[in-house]
Symmetry: C2
Subunit: 282 residues, 2 copies
């Protein structure tokens, strides 16, 4: 069993909100993550819902502001909230740049020096952390779903599209659906993956779909008052590329909602209830 350090646990909504750290082999540093165990996990393996956070966030932001515990306890779902990048004094960073380095791992495996030694968030989320969860918690790993916000919505979409057999459903709040061309993500993709834009397609939901990847069902909520809508998020690009494909996509524009946790927390319970339907449909 992989070793886990418990940083804190607190009773909440009938379950337990914990924070844990471990030595990540793929990221070559200590990584911290949050796990909410619903009360049902005391007695039986529970399905797992992954929440991937956005730029600048750690595991803590959604744990504090996301309002996910009530619905997760009700439906008996384990919620995992990983960090958004490797961190630490031995991990290279681009200090002061909130779109690259610490807090901005973009859920990809970097191939360019000096980032590639640590910035392996794709393998971390899709491979290493699930093994650790499986070994340490009462989780039914045959029932996993994934969701996220902004950069984390990009992460959820691309990881689901690349591993459709692993997840029952995928949803996102205000996701970056085409990071290759979005204002805040094309530069990070270049620095992590190099000049050859073919390599970027592996980490771009719209391009993955163009290249034949499929995943269903997908639910997207997007605030119409989101400042990043036109230059960063553009959910219509996802709708366009899904039009001719066999993908069940629902995009809901939410009038006047912004990009904040006030938006995320509003629709959190609906997303969890939607995932619960797919997770419990075995």
């Amino acid at each position: 069993m992989k070793e886990l350090t418990t940083i804190s646990t607190s009773n909440s909504h009938g379950g337990v909100q914990g924070v844990y750290s471990h030595k990540s082999d793929v990221c070559n540093c200590d990584m911290t993550f949050a796990v909410f165990l619903p009360p049902q996990a005391e007695h039986k393996p529970c399905p797992v819902l992954w929440y991937l956070s956005g730029l600048t966030c750690s595991h803590a932001n959604v744990m504090e502001k996301g309002e996910y515990r009530q619905a997760a306890a009700e439906h008996g779902i384990i919620i995992i909230c990983p960090d958004t990048s490797p961190r630490g004094k031995d991990v290279p960073d681009d200090e002061g740049n909130w779109q690259f380095g610490s807090g901005a791992g973009f859920y990809l495996d970097a191939t360019i020096e000096p980032w590639k030694k640590n910035y392996q968030m794709y393998s971390y989320i899709a491979r290493e952390l699930p093994e650790l969860i499986s070994a340490n918690f009462n989780a039914d790993m045959q029932r996993q779903s994934i969701f996220g916000h902004s950069m984390g919505g990009h992460g959820a979409l691309t990881i689901a599209l690349k591993n459709p057999e692993c997840y029952k459903s995928c949803s996102a709040f205000a996701p970056i659906v085409q990071p290759s061309t979005a204002d805040w993500s094309s530069s990070p993709l270049r620095r992590y993956l190099g000049e050859n834009e073919t390599a970027w397609r592996e980490y771009d939901a719209c391009h993955l779909i163009e290249d034949g990847n499929l995943f269903s069902p997908v639910l997207v909520d997007q605030g119409s008052g989101d400042d990043f809508l036109d230059n960063g998020l553009r959910p219509w690009l996802l709708e366009e590329v899904c039009n001719d494909k066999d993908i069940e996509l629902t995009v809901r524009m939410q009038k006047d909602y912004d990009h904040s946790y006030f938006f995320i927390s509003t629709f959190m319970a609906e997303h969890i209830t939607w995932h619960a339907r797919h997770l419990n449909n075995l």
Copy 2:
């Protein structure tokens, strides 16, 4: 109409979470507070529920971590979250002391120099801020209730006991019920109010009740795993002093819950639903 500066507004749970500041006459400084307007406030005056926060907090902590918006929107209740002390470069502080000064106003009117010029949180919460709310929001000030956490539970209890005609109901999460004798509050009371302990009784729920003040109904939730239970909170002192009095008090011990927002948010919806019953009983 008193002047109000809007710092931010975000749609949330069908209503609007706002943050505002104003020049406080009683605290002699700019004060910041949060207001959640439920969707019903667009069409009719809504009742007001005051949430008073604990030591070290500003208006922001419960706004981010308290999970109050869903229930407030459902019941059509305005939630006001004031700051816990005056702040600013012209406000005296005891830097590094989390139990006194900034973030630790203890909801009293200081009488000792140099604190008395600004530390007037009792008058601010009970008198000045309600006038500002009444003038600027679609609030039915005939229907107010009050609750809070820890130091804020002390604030809610003492303000309700001193102004029973103003509030329909009072509740608290892990309140300091007898600050005169609690580890973390007897020293601040001495510094704000002086050596004469008679003056402290005005800001001590147990002593106010002993001295004949009455308020009903009161609901208290307390975690049994709270590190501050035995030396700071001691809800049994409130139960004892209420035994012979005409006060409807319910104290619920919540097994293994701690002092954090993970505890507060768990029982937040129940408290709001309980207040809604009393606020809507006109």
